[in-house]
Amino acid sequence: MRISTSQIYDQNIRSIMNNQEDLVKTQQQLATGKRIITPSDDPVGAAKVLRLTEEIDELEQFQRNNDLVTGSLEQQEAVLTNITNSINRARTLVVQAGSGILSDPDKRAIGAELEQIKLEIFDLMNTQDADGNYLYAGYQSANQAFTYNPAATGNAISFSGDAGVSFIQLSNSSTIQSTSNGYEVFENVLSRFKFSVTGDTVANLSNPNVSEQGTFDTFFNKNYDPVTSANNDYQITFLASGEAQLTNVGTGAVVDTVGFASGQPFTIKGMQFTATAVAGDTIDFSLDAPEKKSMAQTLHEVQEILMDSTIDNNALQEAIADSLVGLDNGLEKISLERASIGSRLNIAESTYESNLDMEIAAKSSRSAIQDVDYAEASSEFAKQETALEAALASFPQVSNLSLFNYI
């Protein structure tokens, strides 16, 4: 083909330009460390990189959530451990108070110590996190979870938050509970099931009480009717056959019959009565509505009785039985909650591990797609550099070749 002079210049300039463009591109890849500078370099790869980047960012956020929730759960565990230790001490004191050989000042001393433990537990139930939020107040975390009002008609220490709990997302599919509400952990504790005598026609009815708490609890759980209160009224009728018969007043059903000797104690469904009775006599009683008390409230009640020297021994024994059942039920709730926190911590930890593995996998696959292979890129750079140098060096030689130089 015939080559015109301008073609020689054009051709040379074009190849220098092309070489420079390639060189700049490779230089850019080397400088940024990325193979894909614009999406058009590798459209499929660029889209994949975006998806992987999202996944990595999301996993990083999950790991931050995980750190937060682990901290919060560990704090809650510490609170519950402290409460358990204090309650165990309080329980020992309550048992000691019931031994019957203690003098009034001794009981007062125990009462005073129980008061301190009560205040300590009350304080722990109102624990605040680092942000100043009350841990156990539910959604209304700016308000104190439990309030102490000695003049209140019901419980002096009562829950004033709500049942709200918050959740934190630890992976795409799993959220775990990060807080617990104080009602469920501390306040939703049943106190001892009891009954009250409402009327009788017998003589010398003395100290009707629950002597076999387990039997009575079974009976109570099976028969207490929160809807129709008449079904909670019972009557014991003394029969001519020397037996005591327990009848439900509401339904008329005969519940149980036991042998009876006048003036001797008899136990029916875990309840013990002692009375002088003849055939036809009756005792009416009804099941008390179940009450819920926090352990602080339970300690508050027993401590007040211990501090009161006018209380007789029967009432003291009742109060001690009440508080022991209340503390045991409360400890059961707390150990349930500790088990729940432990399992949540385990889940958080294993989620952390699997998220970490996934993050590493995503990062390595993102790196494989978008990162430059330095060995390849630098040898490519050297090659392009040589080509450009050759183009630059040959240009003057080619352009200097002219017939005019020879004529």
Partner: protein, 275 residues
């Protein structure tokens, strides 16, 4: 053209209303996102103003003997006048405020003043209790329980006043990340995708288009070079060629001149011999 949705390239659809007429030559300028960025303003700089909490909370009453607990609260509508929300931080008085179980599978829904709004008997699950009572749609909220309720248990629903620690809405907001919400094309068979997936596909598509344009540019460039070469080859000036021609013509000039001078010499010789 029939009325309805008419697909345009780029996924925008324009609907002409049936009665308005339009004629050939009419032009429509669509700038749907022209002012979108400039009208973004900061509406609040108090984090407490962000509605991270659910407007409703439900809880078991303290006298409950069963093990049922609230497992979830759903809010579907908070429009004042169209739901139970009064717009002033509360619920209207006729809204469901309490659920009372008269047996394990029978419950009554009561309002704040204790009037029974509905009774549900023989329920088999404790999900969406207000929907089961037919009261959810009109009030805009609902809740579910798990566990086993006992007769006499009740659950109360109230406005979530002071609910600072509630992050229900935030979790719902965060879960949008994995919800398929973006319809990438107007074909109904096309399944929606997540935000990030749609964005990544868009970037991929633009990258493909750019790569394709680059290839076209390169081939056009090559064709242009080819044509230029042909053009130059035929009509361009080669200095070497011209130089060669110059020499050639110079030589012929010299040769012609030489002929002239030779002829002149011949004539002179003839003329001198004849003198």
């Amino acid at each position: 053209m029939t009325t309805g949705f008419n697909e345009l390239p780029g996924g925008i659809e324009v609907e002409f209303s049936g009665t308005d007429t339009y004629a050939e030559g009419y032009q429509f300028l669509l700038q749907p996102t022209k002012n979108a960025a400039s009208s973004i303003t900061l509406a609040s700089n108090r984090p407490e103003d962000l509605a991270f909490a659910s407007p409703i909370r439900a809880q078991a009453d303290s006298t409950n003997l069963g093990s049922a607990n609230v497992s979830g609260v759903e809010v579907s509508n908070t429009t004042v006048g169209d739901s139970a929300f009064d717009g002033a931080g509360g619920l209207i008085s006729s809204a469901p405020a309490q659920i009372y179980f008269t047996s394990e599978d029978t419950y009554r829904v009561l309002n704040a003043s204790g009037t029974t709004l509905a009774t549900v008997t023989g329920t088999t699950n404790l999900d969406s209790l207000l929907t089961q009572a037919g009261l959810s749609a009109a009030n805009g909220y609902d809740f579910s329980l798990d566990g086993v309720p006992k007769a006499g248990d009740s659950f109360s629903i109230s406005y979530n006043t002071d609910g600072f620690n509630d992050n229900t809405n935030t979790l719902a907001l965060a879960s949008l990340q994995n919800e398929p919400l973006v319809q990438v094309s107007s074909e109904s068979s096309n399944t929606p995708r997540t935000f990030q997936d749609a964005y990544a596909s868009m970037v991929g598509r633009i990258g493909e288009d750019t790569a394709m344009a680059n290839v076209s540019l390169e081939s056009a460039e090559a064709m242009k070079v080819q044509s230029e070469n042909w053009f130059e080859s035929v009509s361009g000036v080669s200095l070497d060629e011209e130089a060669a021609n110059l020499i050639k013509y110079q030589q012929s000039y010299a040769a012609a001149a030489r002929i002239l001078s030779t002829a002149q010499e011949l004539f002179n010789t003839i003329l001198q011999s004849a003198r």
